[in-house]
Amino acid sequence: MIHVRINGKLLEAKKGETVLQLAQRNGYHIPNLCYHPSLKADGACRMCLVEVKGANAKPNSLTTACTLTVKEGMEVLLDTPEVSKHRNTILEMLMALVPDSPVLTKMAEEYGLKEIRLAQGDEVCIKCGLCVRICDEVVGAKALAMEGRGTETTFNPPFNEPPERCVACTSCAFICPVQCIPVKKTNDSITIWGREFDRLKCTRCGRALDLTEEHMALMMTRSSHLKPEDLNVCDVCSRKEVLGTMKSLVDGQITLERVGK
């Protein structure tokens, strides 16, 4: 066990975990915009700044909790004036970039950032990169790209055209901390990144599934146990089939009907 102090409290840390993970596990809240537990930390947004002492840290050094691996004897302070000053400047930069985000506005209220002194832009994306990383590293569709560089950096499908490799799993839209990736769902289609996908229909009842042909194909690459005949049946029909099996076990004669709606 590794011993780390957070805000003075002695905690037991697991080998290899980060300060952010340790803090979250122990109920401390460290603001962050580019961290997701299913991904390796990237250290891009820099909101999770903490102050570190001990364990060979330079005096009063600030670093990001998401990329800081615990070390024996480490002391971490979450809310020093230094941390709060720089965190607020970073938040101010983000709010200048994306002025109308309720998520950022709420953070500003929480951390006492009152004034945006920087020229305001009109973007909606805070450029945290989660969408690209989740698509690449977790979903595995690799449909999106971080393009350009400097202030012109963008996160979108390659060349900002409807993405060929996208499967419409919509995870990117879900994970986006400022919810800036629009998804349109109708009974027949899912539209994301400017591409419209047909929704598969349940082969039994014809109900629209939350699944596309492309997503199904990607899922099947994850395991040979996943078969189309299982995937394109809705949950209700799946249960009906189970019922059928059970019914024949209990009583061969009866017919079944769901209670309620």
Partner: protein, 135 residues
């Protein structure tokens, strides 16, 4: 030896108390009850019998294999496959993958499934006819 979740359709009346207890013991982040992860079906008259459907905690679980984020992990103490919502990326792959319809969507569109209430299933506790057992 792990305990086993047993359904006894002969004793089920289709009263859906199990569903209610499940929904209330698994509230969403907002505090509202979630959707039940167990389903009780009753049969049409003349036979007043019911059947319950609940996650089998499969050994080779399609939901786990379909999840790209390792958000579904087996609890080694209870044997239950649990959804770790912090890791979940809401792609609904598990929801589509389960051939038994035992992954459900909460009203907030997040996936949910039976987690055996951490070893003390509330549905078993509240079943008035003893149609559910966990032993």
């Amino acid at each position: 030896m792990e305990k086993t979740f047993i359904v006894i359709p002969e004793k089920c009346t289709g009263c859906r108390t199990c569903e209610l207890s499940c929904a209330y013991s698994h509230p969403m982040a907002s505090g509202q009850p979630g959707n039940p992860r167990i389903h009780a079906y009753n049969t049409k008259p003349p036979l007043e019998k019911g059947i319950q459907i609940v996650c089998l905690q499969c050994d080779t679980a399609a939901c786990m294999e379909a999840c790209p984020a390792f958000a579904l992990q087996r609890n080694l103490e209870t044997g239950a496959i649990e959804v770790h919502l912090d890791r979940c990326i809401n792609c609904h792959a598990c929801f589509n993958a389960c051939s038994f319809g035992n992954i459900v969507l909460d009203p907030n569109n997040r996936v949910a499934k039976c987690d055996l209430c951490g070893g003390d299933p509330k549905c078993v506790q509240f079943c008035p006819t003893g149609a559910l057992l966990y032993q």
